[in-house]
């Protein structure tokens, strides 16, 4: 994982309505979303979005419906034009692109996976998976070979000659993912890709995505309304509310340090033991001294859930935390138990959002 920023969104505004430029002036003057709608009949879709998407990471954009997340992802490949702002991909401002360069970007650099799959019903699974190459003018023989390779990879070996309607929802979305992978583009946009699937299949698909990502290191922008899914997948989490970014950062950090009642309310419902990892709550070694009275060694990326199982629920234990076999800190089981309690769970009124 490098630290190179591949996609960078700067001061992005999107206003829906008949005269967005005029409405933008009111918004810049500080008018709220509700007032803008009431007084001028314009909808503020996105407000001053600044997000850096790093190469090889999964950036998850999370928000409830109407928070503007699907609008935001469509700005990256300009399926929606912004009212103002900039989107840099590999240093180039996408908004300066002409029609040809934009088409080139969509063909070579970004591929997209959709909530409703959006497969072509009249083409076979293999032809669908090869669409992204076929569009570039690759001969059918060649793109079918490449498509078959990726269909294998997503677990659809032997389904190439079926038609989409013969497959279940989960399998159709696998085709959708294979289609995006076949294009070999470095960036993948996933718009609520797993939201239409039932919970078990969704977990399967999340595992599949993480497994693929371990190997391919794509830059993935993933949209979801499900915090569990977001925490499971995200390297970088962006939380949207009413069209602006409430908080963004490392998911564990957001979970432990929510900076907004809206997010606190969100995270209080989460099974923290499964999401939090040892690294987030361990105490670093004091002066590099490795304590000798620990009850065993644990990995820095273990979840707290596995720790509870390992200790048998005994809160008096202390473990030595290692990364790649080297000791880096200690974990006190009593601090683990404290970390499981959300900061504001007991407070009345936190749920008003």
């Amino acid at each position: 994982m490098s630290d190179k920023v591949q996609v960078s969104i700067r001061n992005l505004y999107k206003i829906f309505g008949t005269n967005p430029q005029e409405a933008l002036r009111y918004v810049l003057g500080g008018m709220s979303k509700a007032d803008l709608l009431k007084q001028h009949g314009h909808v503020l879709g996105l407000k001053d979005i600044n997000v850096d998407i790093k190469e090889g990471e999964i950036t998850v954009i999370m928000g409830l419906s109407g928070s503007g997340k699907s609008t935001l992802i469509r700005h990256l490949n300009r399926l929606i034009e912004p009212t103002s702002g900039e989107v840099f991909v590999d240093g180039d401002n996408v908004l300066d692109y002409g029609e040809d360069k934009l088409r080139e970007l969509r063909r070579q650099v970004m591929s997209m996976v959709f909530q409703k799959f959006a497969l072509l019903p009249h083409r076979t699974v293999a032809e669908n998976a090869g669409t992204t190459l076929g569009v570039r003018g690759v001969a059918k023989m060649d793109y079918l070979k490449e498509a078959d390779k990726w269909l294998d990879r997503v677990g659809l070996r032997g389904f190439g000659n079926h038609y989409p309607h013969q497959l279940s929802g989960g399998m159709q979305q696998r085709v959708g993912i294979a289609r995006a992978l076949t294009s070999n583009s470095p960036i993948m946009l996933m718009d609520e890709a797993f939201s239409a699937l039932d919970p078990l299949i969704r977990t399967d698909m999340q595992d599949l995505l993480l497994e693929l990502q371990k190997e391919l290191h794509k830059t993935i922008v993933f949209i979801t309304h499900d915090l569990d899914e977001a925490l499971k997948l995200a390297d970088h989490l962006v939380i949207l509310k009413d069209g602006f970014v409430v908080q963004q950062g490392e998911p564990q950090h957001i979970l432990l340090h929510p900076n907004d009642p809206y997010i606190e309310d969100f995270v209080s419902d989460i099974n923290r033991a499964r999401v939090l990892r040892v690294r987030s709550i361990m105490a670093p070694l004091t002066k590099g001294l490795v304590p000798t009275d620990t009850h065993g060694e644990i990995n820095i990326d273990d979840t707290l859930e596995s720790m509870i199982a390992k200790s048998g629920g005994d809160t008096s234990y202390t473990y030595l935390v290692t990364r790649d076999g080297n000791p880096v800190g200690t974990l006190d089981m009593s601090s683990l138990v404290l970390a499981l309690v959300p900061r504001v769970a007991s407070e009345e009124g936190a749920r008003q959002y």
Binding site: R103, R106, M112, P121, Y163
Partner: protein, 343 residues
């Protein structure tokens, strides 16, 4: 003394009225009756609607209703020659195609034609049962000596339906891409669809000679092209927005999108339009026998003219049989398209 005399007097148009050639326009039957009859007591209940004729009674210089029809006629006749110069060469190929198709269908011996049609039906429907039905129907028609007439009708329908699709689909596509074009086209389509079929023939008779095949060819095409245009437009507009968005996100060009996504997904609707177009051509080809279109319609016409009840009814039933064949075959083809793209 006519009812509306005071109107013209008040407007001060009396002089203009009398200077008009009050007596020179030919008197209608009503005028004659009035001039011979006695003045009756008039009540308010008898107040005539101020129509052209009623006003003309009061003011001789005013137009009569018949001036409207003669005006239209005069206008059309004045345009006719110029229209002919443009339309005649433009539509001449239609005559050639129709003559060629009629010659081809009639000169091919029945023992080649019937298997050939069976083959076409098989490729369209992939159903042996339907092929059997069509063959039995054709043999039945041939058995009562209606084969030649049926082939003439079929030849005309094939040519006209093909041309309808050839022009109708592109027009429908253009309509689906431009809201303005759709707004302009829809009233025209409405007019073409609601105009009584006989009315199509009236201006065409003046434009072309009755012996030319293109006369009925144009009438059939104008009448039958409407559904294929409408349903192509509708079909393309109904294509799933998500799929279109996906096509955009892969960087498809407009052309790739049209031929790779929109037309294939609109195909069930377009095929439904083709089915309707074929059925409407069949309806029109019977009426077109009034202007020398050959085929089964001629026999129906003979049945009416000469009161030959049997001839009229048998050929009428033969038309029904042809309609069933055409409908079933196109529907079977449509069902195959539908099955291939269930969502």
């Amino acid at each position: 003394m006519a009812t509306y005399d005071p109107l013209f007097n008040i407007l001060g148009l009396r002089n203009w009225c009398d200077s008009g050639s009050a007596g020179s326009t030919p008197a209608s039957m009503a005028d004659l009756l009035v001039s011979t009859g006695v003045d009756k007591e008039t009540s308010i209940l008898d107040l005539p609607f101020p129509s052209l004729d009623a006003l003309n009674e009061a003011c001789g210089a005013f137009w009569q209703s018949r001036d409207v029809t003669t005006g239209v006629e005069g206008g059309f006749l004045a345009m006719k020659d110029a229209l002919r110069v443009v339309l005649d060469p433009l539509t001449q190929p239609l005559s050639w195609i129709l003559e060629g198709a009629l010659y081809l269908f009639q000169s091919t011996p029945w023992f080649i034609m019937v298997p050939l049609l069976a083959l076409v039906v098989y490729f369209a429907s992939k159903s042996i049962k339907l092929v059997g039905f069509v063959v039995v129907c054709l043999i039945g028609l041939a058995f009562v000596d209606l084969y030649d007439h049926a082939m003439q009708t079929l030849a005309i329908i094939f040519v006209c339906a093909f041309l309808c699709v050839l022009f109708g689909v592109p027009i429908g596509i253009a309509m689906s891409r431009s809201n303005r074009l759709q707004r302009i086209t829809i009233p025209i389509l409405d007019m073409l669809q609601t105009l009584p079929p006989f009315v199509y023939l009236i201006p065409l008779i003046f434009l072309f000679s009755v012996t030319e095949p293109k006369l009925y060819g144009i009438a059939i095409i104008l009448y039958a092209i409407v559904p294929v245009i409408r349903l192509t437009d509708l079909g393309i507009r109904l294509v799933d927005k998500d799929v279109i968005e996906a096509a955009d996100s892969f960087g498809m060009t407009d052309q790739q999108k049209l031929f790779g996504v929109q037309i294939p997904l609109a195909l069930p609707n377009i095929m439904a339009g083709v089915n309707q177009t074929i059925m409407m051509s069949l309806a029109m080809v019977v009426i077109a026998s009034l202007v020398s279109a050959p085929g089964l319609g001629v026999l129906v016409l003979r049945g009416i003219r000469n009161l030959e009840l049997g001839v009229g009814l048998v050929s009428g039933l033969a038309i029904v049989l042809l309609a069933i064949i055409l409908d079933r075959v196109t529907k079977a083809a449509l069902a195959r398209v539908n099955a291939a793209q269930k969502q």
